[in-house]
Amino acid sequence: MYGMVIKPISVSADWNESLKTYNVVSVYRRTVNIEDTEGRRCTLITEPGDFSSRTALVDSLPAAEKGSFISVAADDAKVGYDPSLPVARICKEWLPLILEWQGFLADDDLAVLADVWDGVNWKPLIGLGPGLTPAGDDFIHGRLAAHLRLFEHEDAVVSDFRSGYSSGSTSKLAEGFYCDLLARKIWKRGKTLLDALAADDAQRVLDAARGLMDWGHSSGRAWLAGFAFGADEIL
């Protein structure tokens, strides 16, 4: 065992190691990304809203540098978030609201996506735009989330992505999110919105949309735009 030992307050339901050592791969203001010996991404967070798969909520982030090792002892941690994405409906009454999210592509910082998105061909969007999760990947992620949410079996759009995606064509983090999503796992902000869209509470939908818009510089808006195109394809 190496380095300091972190005791999380709570963990995501798929955090199945009671004690394990990880390599620190990146350090940010609100998150620290770590990697286990099998190369799987895990994340330490300080805000419950940032929960995703293989995520642990901690009081404060460890003062660890990239390349150092830390251990996470999750024996006593409760489950704080279930990242699984079950099939559920998206109420059609929200469709007019969802469709206006397509308009985020008109924002200056997302215009680069609008230039290449033709409504079918997702490949030019892979890795497009700045950031650890490029906006193009956020967009595709949102589109796939809509399809996976509604259909138990992968439809043509999801199958096309699964077969057409070439490993290593975007950032490791974005690729990790794709893998999780295809395994029907999603981060909390997205799930919160999907759950709200299955119910009949307008304020809940607006709050969830706001939560996404506040995610990253453009990530949330790109995801919402992709989700809106996905929803439009199937609703």
């Binding site: 609201l97 206006e100 706001r210 818009m213």
Partner: protein
């Protein structure tokens, strides 16, 4: 030194343009700046502000950025800043925090399914189609936008009528629904009066004057100024009158505006007489006519409110009228105390109906006025920026509001006119309105007081400044505070627009 740049085929909302101009004026070395659409009126305003507009070829669809300053590097920087700000206003980023609000009509209706009214405030050329979309979706419409073509207004009102809906507007600044204000409106009590009005400061003045007499208003329905003309046929006015007459919560109906076309007036009268509900017609500038109780005919706004309040309180409207008339004598004495003077009256108004009423009151007192919005065509000023003799100007007219904020929100241009008028040695009285309430400038009195002070210095104390405040105690600007600021600056503040106009007339030695 000046720099003017034209951005072709660009529309920006007037709030953005005002805020950008304000930011530019803060830059060191910038002495003046203006961002306006290229309308003829805005060319004149730029020219009156000292800009050389010779050879400028902007159209009404183009944005003009004009800056004046000390040297070319300052002007270059100002233009660059202006373009950055209009492309990405820093204040918009702040405004985007907080709750998420849908941006589309369909999105809004998805989250608020029981909506039954839409407020439309977009550029006039887009407003008509958007209003029709709302009507198609079963919504009543408050059309705040102006510059909507008459033919479009008729189409909208006919379509709405077929569905039992109201189109309030265009150019409808004020609506009150169950005491709740939409647009420009005052914080007055809710009560048994229902008002139908053209929809601007006429409605506000009656609303306020009723409140000052202890009477509240339940609904105030704006119709748009053209509704009672023959071409439109009073579609909204008649529907609103009918709705309020059949509303048991409404004890007294008030209809306010310029005199309607004869056939429209007959229809309104017919509806009212058949209902038997006490009603007051405030047809500003209409022919003097006898009351036909329970229908009372008035020709001024305060008189309309005075009679309606008496009816609502079960008092004698005739006595109320006599008491109001008696105030004129007191105003005459007040004028003598202040000191009579020779010269001209200049009216600087933000409210269209208040401007119109001022002209009529002055005419009643033998003062012939010119205006950009006159009550008779032959008295129309050739150039609104070059008043002549007695002139009463409405700065809320379309010519001043294309790509600019309404003067009830942005007082900059009107305040500049206090100085311009002061430099005319023949001007001896400046008459003006100050409108308070939701949507209006948060502190108009301070801005006007500053302008009055500068104007007084420039005129050498020659000018008397006479005003009325269209406001009530609970207004967000604080009525008493605003009144004190004006009075401290030497403004004579009257109880109503009509009284201010009477006092202005009495101040002239003839």
């Amino acid at each position: 030194m000046q720099r003017i740049e034209i951005i072709r085929s660009s529309y920006y909302d007037s709030v953005t343009l005002m805020l950008v101009a304000k930011e530019l004026n803060k830059l060191a070395g910038v002495t003046s700046s203006s961002l306006v659409m290229g309308t003829e009126a805005n060319y004149n305003i730029l020219a009156s502000g000292g800009f050389d507009v010779e050879g400028l070829d902007a159209t009404p669809n183009d944005l003009i950025i004009a800056v004046m300053g000390e040297d070319s590097s300052i002007l270059e920087n100002a233009l660059k800043t202006a373009k950055e700000y209009i492309a990405s206003p820093p204040w918009k980023k702040e405004a985007s925090a907080g709750d998420y609000r849908p941006k589309s009509l369909d999105g809004a209706l998805a989250v608020q399914k029981d909506s039954n009214i839409a407020v439309i405030s977009v550029a006039g050329r887009y407003a008509g189609d958007l209003a029709m979309d709302c009507i198609d979706k079963g919504l009543n419409v408050m059309l705040f936008s102006d510059n909507v073509p008459l033919e479009k207004e008729i189409d909208l009102k006919r379509a709405a009528s077929e569905k039992g809906l109201l189109v309030m507007g265009p150019d409808c600044g004020t609506v009150i629904i169950r005491g709740k204000a939409l647009g420009f409106a005052n914080a007055c009590p809710v009560g048994p009066v229902g008002i139908v009005a053209a929809a601007g400061t006429g409605l506000q003045e009656v609303h306020v004057q009723l409140a000052r007499r202890g009477v509240g208003t339940l609904h105030g329905i704006g119709t748009g100024g053209r509704d009672v003309k023959t071409e439109v046929g009073g579609i909204t006015t008649l529907a609103a009158v009918e709705a309020l007459l059949s509303d048991d919560e409404i004890g007294t109906l008030v209809v306010v505006g310029k005199p309607p076309a004869k056939e429209v007036e007959d229809k309104i009268l017919d509806l009212v007489k058949r209902s038997g509900k006490p009603s007051v017609f405030g047809f500003i500038g209409g022919q003097a006519r006898c009351d036909e109780p329970p229908v009372y005919i008035c020709s001024e706004l305060e008189e309309t409110a005075c009679v309606a309040a008496a009816l609502a309180k079960g008092e004698d409207p005739v006595t109320a009228r006599i008491e109001l008339k008696a105030k004129e004598e007191r105003l005459k004495k007040k004028a003598e105390e202040i000191g009579l003077r020779k010269g001209y009256i200049r009216g600087l108004f933000s409210g269209g109906t208040l401007c119109y009423e001022a002209q009529l009151v002055l005419a009643k007192h033998g003062i012939d006025t010119w205006s950009n919005a006159p009550f008779s065509k032959e008295k129309k000023l050739e150039n609104s920026l070059r008043p002549t003799a007695h002139s009463i100007i409405d700065y809320g007219e379309d010519e001043f509001t294309q790509g600019r904020l309404h003067p009830m929100m942005d007082l900059t241009f009107r305040c500049e006119r206090f100085l311009t008028e002061a430099s005319d040695p023949e001007v001896s009285v400046i008459l003006f309105d100050v409108v308070l309430g939701y949507g209006c400038n948060p502190d108009p009195a301070s801005l006007i007081a500053e302008a009055v002070t500068a104007s007084r210095v420039k005129s050498g104390g020659r000018i008397a400044y006479v005003a009325s405040i269209c406001g009530f105690d609970n207004d967000p600007q604080d009525f008493e505070k605003q009144k004190k600021i004006l009075e401290d600056a030497g403004v004579i503040v009257c109880e109503s627009n009509a009284q201010a106009s009477v006092l202005a007339a009495f101040l002239l030695a003839r």
